[in-house]
């Protein structure tokens, strides 16, 4: 709880509606897309780095835990105020500070919506590739703090590959600048990479310098259906085997297709389709047209139930909107979800998906697999009804088994969503005591009194 004196300080640093201690407003800032509950003590909304620095000096003095928050679309519960604390909403620090076509970089504040930044870059002929499914609804700050992945990771990598430098405020109020405007820079330890993916546990990011590349001239997409997962996997191998590196390669299993057909206004696949592959290519117009033809030719012998080519942006958008709809649509299969974003070595994906699905069948709960086939990051969600005790138990048992199966195949418990609160109990299964101890010592170097998002991530 905050004392009256603490509230008074915060109200003077954040005048008017920039600070809120109203219970209902606090409640709203307690949870995120994990739907785990939390009740913070207050919310503040800085508009400048100076305010953040003053806040962090105060928080360390007063030992008040802070929870940085973007749009709260995180699914691991990293922004959940499970044990109170003060929420720092970065949504009002949302200025794009610079887009430099010559230096191939953009500088922005953390509250900028990722898709807005991409649009602004595109207007100057530049491209910021990371595109999580939440690209239109999540922030750059949140993407950096979770090292968000996305569809284009096959070709372009994840958020960390695009961060050149950061300005962060540490507990105590120190402002640190890591990296810079250079695309190559090996001076000192790589603090930028340490901050990326740190889930708000080390400091608050107040400015990011992001790497850009020339905007590809064209892109095209293709959706193909298959009668079963085996056929789909053979098709995926045929694509890579044919020498193509798609920008994105996503897959949907049977359950995912069903959820989509219950949610979307219309879906393009015919009956008899039990799995689908969504691919995108980008590059110069000539290359894309040629590669689209080649892609189609590579897929044809794999007996697709249908193919839909999307050669222009409007047609592509229709296909990719389906992909963005998957995560919420899955609730059509069950009111509760245990979401996992496992990643496995790319060679064992087929084996992994078969194993996860079999676990669901054995336990009597719905397990759906979909996502980033191209980079081995398989979203595996258990859909169930928590109000039913049998399902509740079976779902959690299935989740544990799935995580164990992924680790058994040399995988990771989280490819892109982060550990947050939801995955914390499973972390020791993957990362040893020595490594976790090292992580805690690193945290102590940034945050000796443990005020930054305590109890999360590692």
């Amino acid at each position: 709880m905050l004392t009256p004196a603490q509230k008074k300080f915060l109200a003077s640093l954040f005048p008017g509606e920039a600070a809120s201690f109203d219970e209902a407003a606090c409640f709203v800032h307690g949870s995120d897309a994990s739907r785990l509950p939390g009740m913070p003590w207050g919310v503040v909304r800085p508009t400048s780095a100076e305010q953040v620095a003053e806040l962090l000096a105060w928080a360390q003095r007063e030992r008040v835990p802070l929870l940085p928050r973007g749009r709260a679309t995180g699914v691991a519960g990293a922004a959940v105020a499970a044990n109170g604390g003060l929420v720092v909403s970065l949504l009002r620090m949302n200025r794009i500070l610079e887009i430099s076509p010559g230096d191939f970089l953009a500088r922005c504040e953390p509250g900028v919506i990722t898709a807005d930044l991409q649009k602004a870059c595109a207007a100057k002929g530049r491209f910021y590739p990371p595109d999580p499914g939440s690209v239109g609804i999540s922030t750059i700050g949140g993407n950096i703090a979770t090292c968000a992945g996305g569809m284009r990771a096959v070709k372009y990598g994840v958020t960390r590959d695009w961060v050149l430098g950061l300005t962060a405020v540490l507990p105590g109020g120190a402002v640190v600048r890591t990296g810079g405007r250079c695309h190559k820079d090996v001076a000192g330890l790589d603090l930028t990479r340490l901050l990326v993916g740190s889930e708000g546990t080390l400091g608050i990011v107040v400015e990011a310098t992001l790497r850009l590349i020339p905007l590809p001239e064209a892109s095209a997409s293709l959706l193909a259906g298959f009668a079963d997962m085996g056929a789909l996997m053979r098709a995926a191998q045929a694509v890579f085997g044919g020498g193509l590196l798609p920008t994105a390669m996503e897959f949907f299993d049977q359950g995912t297709l069903r959820a989509l057909s219950l949610t979307a206004e219309s879906v393009p696949w015919p009956s008899g389709t039990a799995a689908a592959l969504l691919l995108r290519l980008d590059g110069s117009a000539g290359a894309v047209a040629a590669e689209l033809g080649k892609l189609d030719a590579l897929l044809t012998p794999c007996a697709p139930t249908f193919r839909e080519l999307a050669p222009d942006p409007a047609a592509e958008e229709r296909l990719w909107e389906l992909r963005r709809l998957v995560s919420p649509a899955l609730y059509k299969l069950g009111p509760d979800k245990l979401a996992d974003d496992l990643a496995v070595p790319r060679g064992v994906i087929a084996e992994a998906v078969a194993a996860f699905t079999a676990i669901g069948e054995r336990r009597g709960v719905t397990v759906v697999c979909f996502g980033h086939l191209g980079d081995g990051n398989v979203h595996t969600d258990v859909m169930y009804d928590a109000a039913d005790p049998r399902q509740n138990e079976a779902a959690h048992a299935a989740k544990d088994e799935i995580l164990a199966a992924a680790l058994g195949l040399g995988g990771t418990i989280t490819g892109e969503h982060g550990v947050g609160l939801a995955k914390l109990p499973h972390l020791p299964g993957q990362i040893g005591a020595a490594e976790r101890g090292l992580m805690r010592r690193l945290k102590a170097a940034f945050d000796p009194l443990g005020v930054m998002n305590p109890g999360k991530a590692y």
Partner: protein
């Protein structure tokens, strides 16, 4: 108590907010303020907390915060679960009639008229209304009452838009079809000239225009305010009047009325077989009924540029925009797609300053200069935009621009 706060048109299990955050991007109130507690997701979270007892929140707290909504309906379109904040709020309000709903009921009761017609009342008895408002609003809300009154005053006078369009040739596409006009509250009480122009257009296009049946308010705003019984009475009255008139074509020129009328089809009003479908077919925007009717511009009266504001309600206002583009030709400036005027029914009484912030976003979009006009096809939007307009910019319904010939 379980609050069924979902548009339950189908299916058995009530849908639930999955916290995905898609609606935040759609909500004009959130965009204008960056306050997460005003976003649709927050409203569903709060209602759920009230149901489950989580957070120890009181019904009053929840209703007060959740009610801050423009009823624009954009969240419903963005939500994969099809959740509709205005529906939720209407139910919260009718379940716990807090002070806002009371104000509303008092206002309506006192005026004997409905919200948009308040302007009329303000004209006739401004002091009486001012007194009535300050009596029902708690003292520190004087400023809010002032803003609400400002909005009302904006409707008092004659339309500032001088007609600058003349029909050159009617398209006789009506071919004698029987039609009636649903004018709506604003036209009825404050802008009778809209009705007259609309009638002329329909007759010119050779519809067999019958005298308006005994229609009342569409009920849309009443429903959002949580006055469910009154809304139902309005719906029943209009349906009976339409039946008595022989189920004719029902022309509307207000997007909110049209949206309110179309929603009848999903309410159990004792429809006869296939009658609800016939109703949906009958309710049509005026702009789609006059075919290829041609207009000429009266140069000396025409504004330098005219912008189109697309109302949130209705089927997007696409037909109005098409018509205005045809009529205005080169003069057309910007056409909004997804900016909201910020009117928001009861919010105008509860927190008009929030509406004003949303309106500021809309005006930024238009970037209208003195001498230019913003035209729209919704009475509510006319009211809100007129009361927030920059100096020298005129706001009106597109019907205001059409001359008597």
């Amino acid at each position: 108590m379980t609050l069924a706060y979902h548009c339950l048109h189908e299916g058995e299990r009530p849908k639930e907010c999955v916290h995905c955050g898609r609606c935040l991007a759609a909500c004009p109130l959130f965009s204008a303020t960056n306050l997460e507690e005003l976003a649709p997701r927050a409203k569903f979270q709060l209602a759920r907390a009230l149901e489950s007892g989580a957070g120890g929140l009181s019904a009053g707290q929840v209703t007060e915060l959740a009610s801050r909504c423009l009823s624009c309906g954009r969240c419903e379109k963005a939500c994969p679960e099809g959740l509709c904040a205005p529906d939720l709020i209407a139910r919260l309000r009718s379940a716990s009639p807090g002070w806002q709903a009371l104000v509303w009921k008092n206002w309506i009761g006192r005026a004997g008229l409905l919200w948009p017609a308040g302007g009329m009342l303000a004209k006739l008895v401004p002091q009486a209304l001012e007194k009535a408002l300050t009596r029902v609003l708690p003292a520190p809300l004087d400023e809010r009452a002032g803003l609400a009154l400002h909005a009302l005053r904006a409707m008092r006078a004659k339309s500032p838009v001088r007609p600058w369009l003349r029909v050159r040739r009617f398209d006789p596409c009506g071919k004698g079809t029987k039609a009636v006009l649903f004018a709506g509250c604003t036209a009825e009480h404050a802008r009778p000239e809209w009705t007259r122009t609309a009638e002329r257009l329909l007759r010119g296009a050779e519809y067999d225009l019958a005298p308006a049946p005994d229609f009342g308010c569409c009920g849309c705003t009443l429903g959002h305010a949580g006055c469910k019984a009154e809304q139902r009475a309005a719906q029943e009255r209009n349906l009976a009047a339409w039946r008595a008139a022989g189920r004719p074509l029902l022309a509307t020129f207000c997007a909110t009325c049209r949206c309110g009328l179309r929603s009848y089809a999903s309410v159990d009003l004792g429809w006869e077989p296939f009658e609800a479908e016939a109703w949906m077919k009958a309710v049509q925007p005026l702009s789609s009924l006059i075919g290829e009717t041609e207009f000429s511009v009266i140069e000396e009266a025409a504004p330098a540029r005219v912008h189109y504001h697309r109302p949130c309600h209705g089927a997007g206002g696409g037909q109005d925009e098409d018509l205005l583009r045809r009529m205005a030709g080169q003069r057309i400036g910007r056409a909004s797609r997804d900016v909201c005027c910020g009117l928001g029914g009861v919010l105008q009484v509860a927190a008009p300053e929030l509406g004003a912030r949303v309106a500021a976003d809309a005006w930024n979009f238009f970037a209208a200069l003195p001498g230019e006009q913003v035209l729209t096809g919704c009475s509510g939007c006319v009211l809100q935009l007129a009361s927030t307009r920059p100096e020298g910019v005129d706001v009106g319904h597109w019907l205001d621009a059409v001359a008597r010939n």
